[in-house]
């Protein structure tokens, strides 16, 4: 599809707000859990995973993704993220003190990986 050509420059960062104000580049994280909910939405999507901590307590984490439209134009589809699937997501912690993070890559148990983040590309370049 011609849309793929557009993607070379488009929509890598669908920011509508300052990421630095919302997330902390000094607090990278990588968490493994099971998908509980996917919000395929704009201006950003959200993937929620249940993560079991060292103390055995389960915390539901929210990972912000790129805009649904940006994901779609990259070839990602809502059905790529079935509830109950175990995934590992890397990203950066939000500044507001809740279990929230912006995302970079999402990795499945079989090793497949999808870049789901809005700011991920730049973060990887660092």
């Amino acid at each position: 599809m011609a849309i793929g050509v557009i993607c070379a420059w488009a929509s890598t960062a669908s920011a509508h707000h300052s990421f630095t104000a919302e997330f902390d580049i000094n607090k990278p994280l990588k968490l493994t859990g099971t998908i509980t909910m996917v919000r395929w939405s704009n201006p950003h999507g959200w993937i929620y995973i249940d993560v079991k901590g060292d103390d055995g307590k389960v915390v539901n984490w929210a990972f912000e993704t790129a805009a649904a439209n940006a994901l779609y134009r990259r070839g990602t589809r809502p059905e790529d993220f079935a509830v109950g699937t175990q995934v590992t997501i890397d990203g950066y912690l939000a500044r507001n003190g809740t279990p929230t993070a912006t995302s970079g890559k999402l990795m499945f148990a079989d090793g497949r990986a999808i870049t789901i983040g809005a700011g991920a590309v730049a973060a990887e370049q660092k």
């Binding site: 849309i3 580049i25 201006p43 950003h44 929210a62």
Partner: protein
């Protein structure tokens, strides 16, 4: 001597004419008739013949037709046929009632609840030989039925009866009630007297209590002679067809006479539609009545507002001595006219001929109706009962209970289709061969309707759905699919599922009116499809612009959730600011492949289509950067080449604070989903779609906002009108589109790092096509409040001929703003 006498006669004649003209007007016979007659449109059951009828009316739905008919003859006396008949718009009989109840159904009215009112204009008394009816003010002895007014439910249940059976003399009313009308407040008006000694109007309260009467028989001021018909205009004026006086008398609802009109001829029937078009039926001039010679019988159509007569449907029968042509008249929401005839018996339908429409509506160069212009819906039909599935009805009731907060529009979410078409805000239509665009004043919503024989290209659900249009003759038909299940049809909680399929039909009725029809098909919620119709009316008394109602920004500013920057926003009391004087700027030298540039029929470059800025990171900041969370940017500043933006010191400090203080992330208007402003709207990381006509360039921004750029040389809006997207005017300078934007509101930021722009900015943008699908874009910002001199950024815009816009409903899930608010309020770092 002889010469003198002739001259004298002429002078006398002139005086006579002058004296008459105070009371009389010339016959209005020579008017266009753009209607075609359909004689046998309405089908009666097998074996039933049409009798006389003077009573025709349109149902509450705007399309179905009610007729009260005299049982195959000119009286229902002795007949057991139902006299009150309802036909669907196709002419099929769908309901009938009233058997054995009425003698002489004469006038009919459907009130706003859909109840059907009928007058019974005669009685069943034996008429002794030689009894002249016109000497009576009450029925002769022996009457057992007739002379009453009946109110029926839409299903034919008798709800109320006015008058006594068989009739009574005044003041115990009625004798010969001609017509009935229910005012919007429920008061009931009846006109009485059909040759009898009485001629008056009776006014009742909605529960049938007589409030007052006025009028005596005669031809003087305040008198009536055979008030045969009643109608009411949108201002609440009561029009009385004072038939035997060959005039319409207009009263207020207290009986004060307001005007007398003779130009609609001898009125047997009057109908006034919701747009105040008046239809008047004359069935007696030059036949029954010989005191009105020179006037032709037929239906005259004109304006109830100014009394002009514009159209005449003549009686095809030229010479007759009896009643001929329609006595009763009505018109449906589509403008079809119905005439109920006593003499010829039956009801005729009159439809506008295609030729007459074809001549009067504007057309595009390719021959399609030209729908372009600024529109808003006119009178909305009363909402009937929607055919909900039983389970779905419960959900609707729950929505209704919670409507104050649950209505998606309370949050300024996108309204969906057809609701956006029926909001009380104007919108503008732009028409290209491959697409038609609508830009709405409400919250910068737009619709992009592809007309290139494509179907929805994604399975994604959208608030506004996916619209694909096609032409069915002169009607523009739009299929809207891919809805989400979050919008409502109205503020009452009427809703749908994501299985919704809306089919819209746009038919231009005349140069200023589009008939709009939306058929709703949602088998998960409704038992059957249903249709809503409304006229779209051309908005002439506007600034010639669709302005902005930024619903969400207004809401958040009112709640104190967004604070405009005091030093940049426009205040009416601020002293005027003069822009820096500026030489016209040439576009930066680039290689232009002129031969590759596609062109419009007028020779201008074709810049239309799906386009995205290769923005060089401009939405983050204008300088070269390689920052966390954002792709590296090559920088877009063309002038000045070094030293960054030429800030005044206060503005440089403000920008620095926005950039480094994380608490300020909340203050960026785009984080609130407000429009980006100019020039930012073009380099926020979302594509846009350019619509181009000879007189407009329109930019539809995927983040659900738009810019309208007129090319017709008009002047800017008054200084006091301030807009998020400003007021843009364009002109072609060779192959470069030059756009000047002023009237900005000064509430926007230029990018995420917080570069500052104020209301005083004049932004000059240049769009120069340089190859088949690349436009060199440059924007010069001239803002003396913030900077020490003008500056310019530039970047290529790249077109993808196959690209389609999706929809960014930015408000639908804007959790970032809540996080930024946490950071701002709690200072969590």
């Amino acid at each position: 001597m002889r010469m003198t006498k002739v001259a004298l006669v002429l002078v006398l004649s002139a005086v006579e004419v002058a004296a008459l003209s105070a009371q009389d007007v010339s016959p209005t016979n020579s008017l266009p008739n753009p209607y075609r007659t359909i004689a046998n449109y309405f089908q009666l059951p097998q074996g039933r013949e049409w009798g006389s009828t003077s009573a025709v009316e349109i149902d509450k739905d705007g399309r179905s037709i009610w007729v009260a008919e005299r049982c195959g003859a000119n009286s229902c006396g002795g007949s057991n046929l139902p006299s009150i008949l309802k036909f669907d718009p196709s002419g099929k009989l769908v309901k009938s009632f009233g058997a054995g109840l009425l003698i002489f159904p004469h006038g009919i009215f459907v009130d706003r609840d859909g109840n059907v009112w009928v007058t019974d204009g005669q009685d069943d008394a034996p008429r002794p030989q030689g009894t002249a009816a016109n000497t009576l003010s009450g029925p002769p002895p022996g009457a057992t039925r007739g002379n009453q007014v009946f109110k029926f439910s839409p299903d034919g249940k008798l709800l109320m009866t006015l008058g006594t059976r068989g009739g009574a003399a005044a003041p115990a009313y009625f004798y010969q009630p001609n017509d009935v009308l229910v005012a919007p407040n429920g008061n009931i008006f009846v006109s009485e007297g059909h040759g009898g000694a009485n001629s008056r109007i009776l006014k009742f309260s909605k529960d049938g209590k007589l409030l007052k009467t006025w009028g005596t028989k005669g031809s003087g001021d305040g008198q009536l002679d055979g008030p045969h018909a009643l109608a009411m205009d949108s201002r609440g004026r009561l029009f009385v067809g004072d038939r035997s006086n060959n005039r319409i008398v207009i009263f207020d609802q207290e009986g004060r006479q307001l005007d007398v009109w003779r130009q609609f001829s001898r009125p047997s029937g009057i109908y006034i539609d919701k747009r105040d078009v008046i239809y008047v039926a004359d069935s007696e001039s030059e036949s029954v009545s010989r005191n009105h010679d020179g006037w032709k019988r037929g239906i005259r159509i004109g304006s109830a507002r100014d009394g002009s007569v514009t159209t005449f449907i003549p009686d095809p029968i030229e010479k007759t001595t009896g009643t001929s042509a329609a006595e009763g008249v009505a018109a449906d929401v589509d403008g079809n006219v119905y005439g109920a005839e006593v003499g010829p018996k039956g009801v005729k339908k009159y439809v506008r001929t295609a030729a007459s429409t074809a001549k009067t509506i504007p057309r595009t160069p390719d021959g399609r109706p030209d729908l372009q212009g600024i529109w808003k819906h006119g009178a909305l039909p009363a909402t009937g009962v929607l055919p909900y599935l039983p389970a779905a009805l419960a959900k609707q009731r729950e929505n209704f209970t919670q409507r104050a907060t649950a209505d998606p529009l309370a949050q300024c979410f996108l309204p969906g289709v057809p609701r956006i078409m029926l909001l009380d805000y104007p919108f503008q239509i732009f028409q290209m061969r491959s697409a038609l665009a609508m830009t709405f004043e409400w919250q910068h919503v737009f619709r992009l309707i592809y007309t290139n024989d494509t179907a929805a290209s994604t399975p994604l659900p959208f608030w506004m759905g996916d619209s694909r249009g096609r032409w069915d003759g002169d009607t523009f038909v739009v299929d809207v699919t891919n809805h989400n299940d979050r919008t409502w049809f109205d503020a009452q909680g009427d809703y749908h599922s994501d299985a919704l399929h809306v089919t819209e039909r746009y038919t231009m009725v005349d140069v200023d009116t589009i008939r709009y029809e939306a058929t709703i098909n949602d088998p998960q919620v409704f038992m059957r499809p249903w249709t809503i119709t409304a006229p779209l009316e051309r908005q002439k008394k506007t600034t010639g612009r669709v302005l902005e109602y930024p619903c969400r920004a207004e809401l958040e500013e009112a709640r104190g959730e967004f604070n405009r920057e005091q030093r940049t926003w426009y205040r009416k009391d601020a002293p005027p600011v003069k822009p820096f004087s500026m030489e016209p700027r040439a576009v930066t030298a680039v290689n232009v492949d002129r031969a590759a540039i596609s062109r419009m029929p007028d020779g201008k470059p074709d810049i239309s289509g799906f386009t995205e800025a290769d923005a060089g990171g401009a939405n983050w900041g204008f300088e070269p950067h390689n920052e966390p969370f954002t792709p590296g940017g090559r920088g877009v500043l063309i002038d000045p080449k070094t030293g960054g933006l030429p800030y005044q010191s206060w503005a440089r400090a403000e920008k620095q604070d926005r950039h480094t203080n994380t608490a300020r992330g909340y203050d960026d208007p785009t984080a609130h989903c407000f429009p980006g402003g100019v020039p930012r709207a073009l380099y926020v990381p979302s594509p846009f779609y350019i619509i181009q006509t000879p007189t407009y360039v329109v930019i539809l921004l995927e983040r659900m906002s738009w810019r309208i750029i007129p090319l017709d040389g008009r002047a800017h809006l008054p200084d006091t009108i301030r807009l998020w997207q400003g007021d843009s005017l364009g002109r072609w300078d060779g192959d470069t589109l030059v756009v000047e934007t002023t009237n900005l509101n000064g509430k926007t930021w230029l990018n995420e790092v917080g570069d500052v722009i104020s209301h005083a900015a004049t932004v000059v943008e240049r769009f120069t096509p340089v190859s088949a699908n690349v436009i060199q874009y440059e924007a010069t910002v001239n803002d003396p409040v913030v900077f020490t001199r003008p500056w310019t950024i530039g970047m290529p815009l790249k077109r993808n001929p196959k690209g389609e816009l999706l929809e960014v409903a930015c408000l639908e899930d804007n959790q970032d703003l809540l996080h930024l608010k946490d950071v701002k309020e709690r200072g969590i770092q």
